[in-house]
């Protein structure tokens, strides 16, 4: 950073660079930074799980333990919130969980890119869940699926209001589901960037001011720890909500 006082631009870290231009019809489907990091996520995820799959039933190695830990973690999550029947969606939940976890974690490294900091990706994930729940629910239960919107034991005179609220909240789900993850990642990375930039700016100033740089540096360390928690927490929350929504598709009668 230059002495002239560099402009802090915490937004540029989210910008996508095109690395290979591909235009199909009216659509620009170029390979961008996001594509490369998504490919990296897939490679890491598939490598980890293929190494785990090669394991023996004996004492697992480190990598195998890690993969099995992820497997059992998601398995527990699916079973506890969607029941044994929910296990038919286990591969979907697992893929979502590992995708989001790795996207958040890889984005945590400096100079990398966070795939989940773009709302289109989190929206795609949330809509995937939403349509899976809706289509499976209707296919499996037919009209009975709409009992989801009619809770038991509600007096008839407030039932229309309750149903309206239930229907509304159902359609708002993909919004809250996607914005929660996107906003957490975006805000976290902006905050880290801002405090990191303060350190650089203060170090570029006169000797007396340099000492002050300790404060934002300490803040950055604290924020890093917090952000690492958020990385896993948000992945967990996203997968957990997926399980709860899937539970609605499996057992719509509340």
């Amino acid at each position: 950073m230059a002495d002239a006082g560099p402009a802090i631009n915490p937004i540029e870290q989210f910008a996508l660079a095109r690395h290979l231009r591909i235009i199909v019809g009216n659509f620009d489907v170029s390979i961008t930074t996001s594509t490369i990091f998504m490919a990296l996520i897939a490679i890491v995820a598939l490598w980890l799980m293929s190494m785990t799959a090669k394991g023996t039933p004996g004492v697992p190695g480190r990598l195998q333990s890690l993969g099995e830990m992820a497997y059992e973690f998601v398995e527990g999550m699916v079973r506890s919130s969607a029941g044994d029947e929910g296990m038919k969606f286990f591969p979907l939940v697992f893929t979502i969980f590992i995708f989001v976890t790795l996207a958040n974690l890889i984005g945590f490294f400096p100079y990398s890119f966070t795939v989940t900091s773009h709302i289109i990706i989190t929206a795609a994930l949330a809509l995937l869940v939403f349509f899976t729940v809706t289509i499976y629910g209707i296919w499996r239960h037919g009209l009975h699926f709409f009992k989801l919107f009619v809770p038991d034991g509600v007096p008839i005179y407030i039932l229309p209001l309750v149903v309206a609220i239930e229907v509304f909240s159902y359609f708002v789900r993909p919004v809250s589901h996607s914005v929660r993850l996107f906003a957490n990642m975006l805000a976290g990375h902006i905050t880290l960037y801002v405090f990191g930039s303060f350190v650089a700016m203060l170090l570029g100033a006169s000797a007396a001011v340099k000492l002050v740089a300790v404060l934002p540096f300490a803040m950055t360390i604290g924020l890093d720890a917090l952000e690492l928690l958020v990385v896993f927490l948000q992945a967990y929350v996203f997968a957990m909500l997926t399980c709860m929504y899937l539970n609605d598709a499996l057992h719509p009668g509340h």
């Binding site: 937004i11 540029e12 870290q13 989210f14 910008a15 996508l16 660079a17 095109r18 690395h19 591909i22 659509f27 620009d28 489907v29 170029s30 390979i31 961008t32 930074t33 996001s34 594509t35 998504m38 490919a39 996520i41 897939a42 995820a45 598939l46 799980m49 293929s50 785990t52 799959a53 090669k54 394991g55 023996t56 039933p57 004996g58 993969g67 099995e68 497997y71 059992e72 286990f90 591969p91 979907l92 697992f94 893929t95 590992i98 995708f99 400096p110 100079y111 990398s112 890119f113 900091s117 773009h118 709302i119 289109i120 990706i121 795609a124 995937l128 996107f182 975006l186």
Partner: protein, 182 residues
Amino acid sequence: MATQAQQSTQAEVGQEAGHTAFPPFDASTFPSQLLWFAVIFGVMYYYLSKRFLPAVGGVIESRRGRIAKDIDEATAMQAKADAAVVEHEKALAKARADAQATAQAARDRIAAETDGKRKALEDQLNARLAEAEQRISANRVAAMGNVKAIAADATGAIVQRLIGRAPKAAEVAKAVDASAGA
């Protein structure tokens, strides 16, 4: 994060589209992101659901089965060991009781024998003691008799020397008896 160098060589998608939109809301990148997300997520889902997750699940399942079997075996062994301990303690208690009974019997027998021997010996010794006492008192009576005779003789001789004539034997015996009684 796009560096300055990247920015100069590769223009941002947003800027290229003629406006400087907030990158996450730049709709011109949406088709590319959606397409590649669908492709990459689809590949991940395919390989995970068809290959790796069933394999990992199988490994975990077989490990659980193996652990359950091992635990069952260990429980059975434990039960066996417990039974053996009970058996062993029973045998030990029986042996101890036997040993105590045998020792008691031996002790009783030996005590009885010793008592018998001691009693016989005591009887024998008492008999000998009584016999010896009888002999002693007989000897003493005999000795006392002899002493009187000697004293009478001596008295007779002394008196004869003093008065020049022998005293009568009856008087001498009377005098000796009187002085011995004194």
